[in-house]
Point group: C2
Chain length 253, copies 2
DNA sequence: CGACGTGTTGAAGGAGCTCAATCTAAGTGG
DNA sequence: CCACTTAGATTGAGCTCCTTCAACACGTCG
């Protein structure tokens, strides 16, 4: 499979690409790079030269405040274009780090820019990708600003499950989420201790189960209701939203 | 003055527009519309057809959670392009409301789209405008997620002052901010009562003064330090950043 | 003048934080 | 295969920042 195939898949979500468009995308100059757990893909303050398409693994954006605490701003899953955000600006205003060993296709920003203006269908798709990132960011702000710990946590779990299913990486009720509780805490504006108590309480109520990085949601509707999760802000085209399929049978162990 | 002059000014901040570019921007089809205090410019869930350039007045973006609480996501000042965010997507994922009586130039989205792909300089400028909005949104998330009430409030005041000065609408230490404490609370993820106590405490320490909508910052450096305000995330080009000029003499009264 | 929107203040309670100890599972080296 | 290490998860206890509820003050406007 061509390394940039996941990029095509993603862009087709946002805009109709004809044959020529797709060929052009696949011919983008790029090199695949591996990053090992916890290493930086982009450092705040640096001048960006490449944008990365996440091929495998998980990544996240973050900022550090003066007092040294960290806010995780977004979580990225395979297929996501990481860093169009910083790309067309002077210097990176936040960092991107990987959660697990990951692979990226690094594409020079100038190549993205050229192709975007040569082919409007591609330009619109790239633009929409950044707009959807922005929409997710707004929901994230509201989540942190106006929901309590239980609601926030439920919302995040639902968002991750939903996005992973849309990306073909599991079912919304059963997926890998390789984040420590400390990372979850930084994503939700809470402390690790409190996240722990919140997760345990969801578990105890039979809503979720966690083992290692595997998250299982036993009552999707209930969790989505608690977290006020309405997937509209993800802007997934209706055609791509499968009817809610039954959860895969979880192998008893 | 041409109604779209503020748009030109804003776009020139993000990209070099030549004469032809500028003529094209000014020839965008548009109609000016007045909105009276508290009315909606965009309603969540509707299909957007126009993007608005804020000509005069103040506006803000917001979302309501299931429990009925509101999160203010961004504040807009004259010159801002409101709603490129929603424009290229299926339907608005949040609402835009005006803080004061305001005037907008409403431009059909299709016209924006055409001009963006006809003239890359314009396209890049528009794209950057949305990217900077995204950057501000990330800082906002971090502000709400990882700073306490005093820090959050200071940060917001500094951001508003700085942006208003960059837009030529006052000095960073003396500006109009027509928000009630309830609106400030919803912007910062706090309650009106607590915002009130926080503002009063800043006042009592001699850092700020408020009278009606006029905010005065008496010790910019101190307030910026408290709020961990580093303007880099606004991505203002170096050429536009005036050296920190002395505050205008405030008329004793 | 009375009503309403907004700002201010007090008192009590609670959601989430801090500090600190303990537990667990997955390495790792012998 | 086992002792040792270590990152991460879990639990407890006390505290605090912020919320909630409620009253009151103030200015504007009909």
């Amino acid at each position: 499979m061509h390394a940039l195939e996941p990029l095509i898949q993603k862009l087709k979500r946002w805009s109709d690409l004809d044959e020529a468009d797709q060929r052009l995308v696949l011919s983008l100059p790029h090199s695949t790079r591996r990053f090992s757990r916890a290493s930086y893909v982009v450092q705040e303050g640096t001048v960006p030269s490449h944008a990365g398409v996440l091929l495998s693994g998980f990544a996240f954006r973050q900022k550090i405040t003066a007092s040294g605490s960290r806010q995780v701003l977004a979580i990225h899953i395979p297929g996501d274009i990481v860093d169009l955000q910083n790309s067309f600006l002077d210097r990176a205003d936040h960092s991107v780090q990987v959660l697990t060993d990951s692979e990226f296709a690094m594409v020079p920003i100038s190549a993205f820019k050229d192709i975007a203006f040569q082919r409007p269908a591609i330009g619109i798709a790239l633009w929409r990708e950044t707009l959807v990132d922005g929409s997710i960011q707004r929901e994230w702000t509201a989540n942190v600003g106006r929901r309590n710990a239980r609601e926030r946590t439920s919302h995040l779990l639902c968002e991750c499950g939903y996005r992973l299913e849309m990306a073909g990486l599991g079912h919304r009720t059963r997926f890998q989420l390789p984040m420590t509780q400390e990372e979850l805490a930084d994503a939700l504006g809470l402390t690790p201790v409190h996240i722990n108590r919140t997760l345990m309480s969801l578990d105890r109520e039979g809503l979720t189960t966690r083992r290692r990085n595997l998250v299982q949601i036993h009552d999707w509707d209930a969790l989505a209701a608690i977290g006020d999760f309405e997937p509209g802000y993800l802007h997934i085209p209706a055609a791509l939203q499968p009817a809610l399929t039954a959860a895969p049978v979880s192998k008893a162990r």
